[in-house]
């Protein structure tokens, strides 16, 4: 009987594991990074993820949301989740602090193709909170031995006060990241670019189109125009990956909410190779 019961438990996709907030780092007003550790040590050692994947974070009594994994190790500092306050669940999360309990299930979805692009020059294109799922890519690229290939980050935010992870920028560039930031509304001390992210793609230099890969995450309009710029500059659609968002209730392909054409964003995405999703991404209101 007990073996049967526990098999049933493992089967229930809705069962999330208890986690605790090991640390909270406030990025700026309305955005914080939560480091989550499993209560059960066995979970911490068995849990693995690939950059680009996401977890479902559950605040009991409030609801459950999809949040990208922004680095960290389950068995050490905890899994990093950078969350922007949007509505109900994210607001409740913002009221929680170090030591508080919630639940997590995952990882879900597709990942950035890091193996496939190991020897390529990677250009990361991010807007606002869209940098969250790319942080683990930056870490993986800068940690790994890949002397021949470069990593570039083109990052845009509304203003210099809301640049995500800016305290880590110096460390990243010190380890070889080419970083260019742009803002819509600069203040007096701003020395970076001003304007939309696609302009950075337009002005990009020193990257051979034949041997590069683009990973994009951010508002869909930003991605659309950035892709257009990249294509105009000789990059092929098969060299471009985008991370998409759709309403998600289950993350396991059962609730139907996240469909985009034939794709379930929760399973076939969130990371798509551009040529595969383009026919649907370009249709308004699909």
């Amino acid at each position: 009987m007990s073996a049967l019961a526990s098999a049933a438990i493992a089967d229930n996709p809705w069962l999330a594991a208890s986690v605790r907030i090991a640390d909270v780092v406030t990025e700026f007003a309305g955005v914080a990074t939560y480091y989550l550790q499993f209560d059960e040590p066995a979970r911490a050692t068995s849990y693995g993820y690939a950059p680009g994947q996401f977890n479902m974070l559950y605040v009991p009594g409030v609801g459950e949301i999809a949040i990208s994994i922004s680095g960290g190790l389950a068995s050490r500092e905890g899994l990093a989740h950078t969350v922007r306050v949007a509505g109900n669940v994210t607001q409740s999360l913002a009221r929680l602090g170090k030591g508080d309990s919630l639940a997590l299930r995952g990882p879900y979805g597709s990942a950035w193709p890091l193996d496939e692009t190991r020897d390529a020059d990677i250009v990361l294109v991010a807007g606002g909170i869209g940098l969250a799922p790319l942080r683990a890519v930056v870490e993986a690229r800068l940690d790994g031995p890949s002397p021949r290939a470069s990593t570039t980050l083109l990052y845009g935010a509304r203003s210099p006060d809301v640049l995500l992870y800016d305290r880590e920028f110096a460390g990243w560039t010190g380890r070889g990241l080419h970083l260019q930031c742009t803002v819509d509304r600069p203040h007096r001390l701003w020395v970076g670019h001003v304007g939309a992210v696609p302009l950075l793609v337009d002005r990009l230099s020193g990257i051979a189109p034949a041997n590069c890969a683009l990973f994009l995450c951010g508002p869909e309009v930003m991605m659309r125009y950035s892709v257009r710029s990249a294509l105009a500059r000789g990059v092929r659609k098969e060299q471009i990956w985008v991370s998409l968002e759709r309403n998600m209730q289950c993350a396991v392909g059962l609730c139907g909410h996240c469909q985009l054409g034939p794709a379930f964003v929760c399973q076939d995405g969130p990371v798509f190779r551009y040529d595969k999703i383009e026919p649907y991404l370009d249709v308004e209101d699909l």
Partner: protein
């Protein structure tokens, strides 16, 4: 078992006869074996699934008249027990309940713990399932049991269920199972399949469970005449079917016509009322909400049917992706008939015609497809 010795007990795919006067024995036997028997019964001016304890619970002598936006019960001239087609309910109601708790969380000191909530629904015997609905069950099996993740509630209910199908002997003007290759003949997915004759049923065995059940019933070997009569009765349903859906290249036709003007045209008629998705035996979309006690110590996560016709179904970042009825109808039809094939390897439509009957303004998906086919962009 005296008159039914081993030699005459039914085997797989064998067809036997069960006299109508012995039909109550089948119902009793199912209850005795612990099944809750659900079958067609008249309720609220329609034939819906309800508990069947006695043969008097069946819609004997009733039939239905269906057309776009219309459903009417009528007295039959004869006393047929299953002389109607599908109503607003389908087996989906049982296997994928419209509201059910999927998981719970309890506060334990300063930690939250999640737990399974066992589904204690007794096993059911579904009586009177039609060919299109057998096909619909197979479609939902792919979604809930054979994809990467499976739904434990669906799986348990499905694996425990016994299915006694009934072959259609007539069709409604809304039926198009022949276009979808799903009917009207029940060909697989049942434990027993019946065909109604004036005084008896032919009983076809479709599974070992069905064979075991039939062995306990006072059936007799089917004579060639009865078999021929049953064949003629089933042919009536085939001959009755008038509606057609041309499925040739249908997936590509729809996905290549996402900007067809017909989507705007149908949007002027569609009320986005959600009826079609509620009655459709394959639609599977749902949402989960929180139900907690007052001090939020115990929380249940309750799954409810949802539909792509609800305005906030595609809610995202303070906005809604499918804000217009045009995009919601397009999502429904292209999912059903096109992207379902990419996702699950079959069409999401079995041709039961329910969405046509229960659409308050009588929108007919076969006509929408035909209009797009006539003038592809």
């Amino acid at each position: 078992m005296t008159q039914h010795d081993r030699e005459s007990s039914p085997s797989m795919h064998e067809t036997r006869l069960l006299d109508k006067q012995d039909f109550q024995k089948l119902v009793d036997l199912l209850w005795d074996q612990g099944y809750r028997v659900l079958g067609p019964t008249v309720s609220q001016a329609a034939i819906v699934f309800g508990e069947i304890r006695a043969i008097d619970d069946l819609p004997r002598g009733w039939t239905d008249e269906q057309s776009g936006g219309e459903y009417r019960l009528k007295r039959r001239e004869d006393d047929a027990w299953f002389g109607f087609v599908v109503g607003p309910h389908s087996p989906k109601q049982h296997f994928f309940p419209s509201r059910v708790t999927v998981v719970a969380a309890d506060r334990d000191g300063d930690a939250w713990r999640m737990r399974d909530v066992p589904d204690d629904e007794p096993p059911v015997a579904l009586l009177g399932v039609r060919a299109c609905d057998l096909a619909a069950i197979a479609v939902q099996d792919r979604t809930f049991m054979h994809a990467r993740y499976s739904d434990p509630i669906y799986r348990r209910r499905r694996e425990q269920a016994l299915i006694i199908a009934v072959n259609c002997t007539q069709a409604a003007s809304t039926c198009f199972c022949t276009s979808m290759n799903t009917g009207p003949r029940c060909s697989s997915g049942f434990d027993l399949a019946l065909t109604e004759l004036p005084d008896c049923f032919t009983v076809e065995v479709g599974s070992p469970q069905g064979a075991a059940l039939a062995a306990l019933l006072p059936t007799r070997p089917a004579d060639p005449q009865a078999l021929r009569q049953a064949e003629i009765a089933r042919q009536h349903a085939v001959d009755d079917i008038s509606k057609q859906l041309d499925t040739n290249d249908l997936r590509d036709l729809l996905l290549n016509n996402l900007e067809h003007p017909r989507w705007s045209e149908v949007a002027t008629r569609c009320l986005s009322c959600t009826n079609c998705t509620m009655v459709c035996p394959t639609c599977f979309c749902s949402s989960v909400k929180e139900v907690s006690d007052l001090d939020v110590e115990h929380v249940e996560r309750v799954r409810e049917w949802d539909t792509c016709f609800n305005w906030d179904f595609s809610y995202l970042n303070g906005g809604v992706v499918r804000d217009q009825i045009r995009s919601r109808y397009r999502q429904w039809l292209t999912h059903k008939l096109a992207s379902w094939v990419d996702q699950f390897g079959v069409s999401g439509c079995v041709g039961c015609g329910r969405c046509i009957t229960w659409c308050p303004v009588g929108i007919d998906l076969t006509e929408e497809v035909a209009a797009i086919r006539e003038t592809p962009v």
